[in-house]
């Protein structure tokens, strides 16, 4: 037992170190990419008027934004701010990026959680159905559905569903201003249902495939045959013995889909006018707000790295076989 714990501790520590190195790399890359942008913060915020500024005005503005410093100094200054919770200020709204992110993040997390629920609700029963008789019509049917969900991009599905419902039924809850779950739970859920369904459908396919493969794998194991021979009733066998063990890889898979969901949230939030973190990034890119994009992207990547780390650790805790490897 002590040795097992040592292995787990060692792996967890190693993974944590990797995650830290990754985050430093992520911050460097984010910083460098956004410094390549043609036109700096001044031309971005003043537009054509920037051409009428005197050299002195430009110099003082560059000093104000801190872009007169050499890159390494700017990077360390920004990173220092990030570590102490100062993510910079949005010049168009005058709000701090930390405050903006604190407003936007809960909306994105709510969307992601609902989407995962939809994905699991479609994918797990679908995978069970497919695995119940491999090669039969029901298996083929779910494979076709799964291929479609993989091949129809979320922006297309979202646009099609939203415009169809709005045109045919006149139902478009996202047309009125966004309400948070706390402000107006009923309206909020109506506004979330379409984007969550669209994103959920896009992750249902990998969930379905993993469930199917896992069930078929577990069913071939010796302990299932033993349970069968003992006379465990089929329903109980499928749920208590097969499904419970098959869900371990499904949980891992779902965790790994989180990054994909954040990609999808970018699109879904834009189409359904949900003020989440994806929309914040997109707005920042459109308005060329370095500080907003840089910090938001870093927050998103950090979340992604953390979720992957947690998924990995959780997987090791849940499945003792992985610890020994």
């Amino acid at each position: 037992m002590g040795r097992l714990r040592a292995v787990l501790g060692h792996t967890a520590v190693r993974r944590l170190g990797e995650a830290l190195v990754t985050l430093v790399g992520v911050s460097l890359l984010t910083f460098v990419v956004l410094r390549v942008v043609p036109g700096d913060q001044i031309t971005a915020s003043y537009g054509i008027a920037a051409g009428e500024l005197s050299p002195e005005q430009i110099a003082s503005l560059r000093e104000y934004y801190g872009i007169d410093q050499p890159w390494p100094v700017q990077y360390l200054g920004w990173l220092g701010g990030v570590v102490t919770g100062n993510l910079g200020v949005s010049t168009t709204s005058g709000l701090s990026v930390a405050a903006l992110t604190a407003q936007a993040l809960p909306n994105t997390v709510e969307l992601a959680v609902l989407a995962i629920l939809v994905g699991l609700a479609l994918g797990v029963p679908g995978g069970m159905l497919a695995a119940s008789r491999p090669g039969a019509a029901r298996d083929g049917g779910t494979q076709v559905a799964s291929l479609l969900s993989l091949s129809v991009p979320s922006f297309l599905l979202a646009t099609a569903v939203a415009t169809f419902l709005a045109n045919q039924l006149g139902w478009y809850p996202n047309g009125e201003g966004y309400r948070t779950l706390a402000e107006d739970p009923w309206l909020n859920l109506q506004q979330m249902v379409l984007p969550a369904a669209v994103l959920g459908i896009s992750i249902a396919s990998p969930v379905l495939q993993t469930t199917r493969t896992a069930i078929l794998g577990v069913r071939a194991e010796d302990f299932v045959r033993t349970a069968q021979a003992k006379g465990v009733p089929p329903g109980r066998l499928q749920v208590r013995h097969v499904l419970r063990n098959a869900l371990i890889p499904v949980v891992t898979m779902t965790g790994l889909q989180f990054g994909f969901l954040l990609s999808g949230a970018l699109v879904a939030e834009q189409i359904f006018a949900i003020p989440g973190i994806g929309r914040q990034t997109l707005l920042g890119l459109q308005q060329k707000e370095y500080a907003v994009v840089q910090s938001t992207v870093l927050v998103i990547a950090a979340m992604f790295v953390l979720v992957n780390l947690l998924t990995d650790v959780l997987y090791r805790v849940v499945d003792p076989r992985v610890r020994l490897r």
């Binding site: 985050l23 992520v26 390549v36 291929l147 646009t159 990609s263 970018l266 699109v267 998103i300 992604f304």
Partner: protein, 294 residues
């Protein structure tokens, strides 16, 4: 890669390889995939050769928002542009971006992955850090940030998408190298005095070609989806060039009066992606040794 089939010496029993190709592609899924991709390639070729019925960029306000008809097969948009020609030209654009981005990311990613797996040590660690960093970004976000900062053209969009797929190719290539580098025939080649580089090129890489071909095919379909998503968000192929994602975006406000503006580009996109996915799956069942129980 293709099995040489004489057909004269052993007609009764096709070789195992020929049988594998047949059983993979002569299935409903394989046939559908090839048929869909044929349609896509024909449309793209028509556009590339300038054989479209109308100029995809030519505006004619007198003919705006016409429904599908004998002249304009897929109807016209709000500027009177022919939707069929624009879908064909959009497909050509999708394929062009997908081909360039996947070629670049495959070249860079496979080189990195093979070197990491073969040389190990410091190289492996460095490549590991780079792939981890690139994987830490949600793929669309990274492509978006890159595409937004570069000047907009189909080439920069391809580069942005290529960067996103480099770590995938690196990881896919590294795995098989790890087991192949200690395979008996590789060790034997080294024992008779072949250099590490020639062993790598002659013995390791050819033996993982199958896996890489499958990965490339599937990546093409992801690249098409990514390009379309970028164009939809306004950071992809710049107008007036036709892009399927941009056409879907423009169609949003007009779906109640002109649903064909949404339907045809959408179907075109989905057909291309399904076609590539089906072909990729069929290739996998032939070429990927790990695919046995799928």
């Amino acid at each position: 890669m293709s099995a040489t089939e004489t057909g004269l010496e052993a007609p009764a029993e096709p070789t195992g390889r020929t049988r594998a190709w047949r059983s993979a592609f002569l299935t409903p899924a394989g046939v559908t995939g090839v048929a869909l991709m044929t349609v896509v390639l024909v449309l793209a070729a028509l556009s590339a050769l300038g054989l479209l019925p109308h100029d995809p960029a030519a505006q004619d306000v007198g003919r705006s928002l016409l429904g599908p008809s004998g002249d304009a097969w897929f109807g016209t948009d709000q500027f009177g542009r022919d939707v069929f020609s624009r879908v064909a030209s959009g497909l050509a654009n999708s394929l062009r971006v997908a081909a360039v981005s996947v070629a670049v990311s495959a070249a860079v990613g496979i080189t990195l992955g093979v070197l990491a797996g073969y040389l190990q040590g410091v190289v492996d660690r460095l490549v590991g850090v780079v792939t981890n960093v690139l994987f830490a970004f949600p793929s669309l976000l990274l492509a978006l940030a890159l595409a937004a900062t570069l000047s907009r053209s189909w080439v920069t969009v391809s580069v942005a998408i290529a960067v996103v797929y480099v770590p995938i190719f690196a990881r896919v290539a590294r795995g098989p190298v790890l087991s192949l580098r200690t395979a008996d025939y590789v060790l034997a080649a080294q024992a008779v005095g072949r250099s590490r580089l020639s062993t790598l090129v002659e013995h390791v890489v050819p033996n993982m070609a199958g896996i890489l071909v499958v990965q490339t095919t599937l990546s093409l379909s992801w690249a098409i989806l990514t390009e379309a998503s970028l164009s939809f968000l306004g950071f992809g192929t710049p107008p007036p060039a036709a892009s399927l994602g941009g056409m879907v975006y423009d169609a949003q406000a007009l779906t109640s009066v002109a649903p064909w503006l949404l339907v045809f580009p959408g179907v075109g996109l989905v057909v291309a992606v399904i076609g590539l996915n089906l072909i990729g799956d069929a290739l996998r069942s032939v070429l990927d040794p790990r695919a046995g129980g799928r």
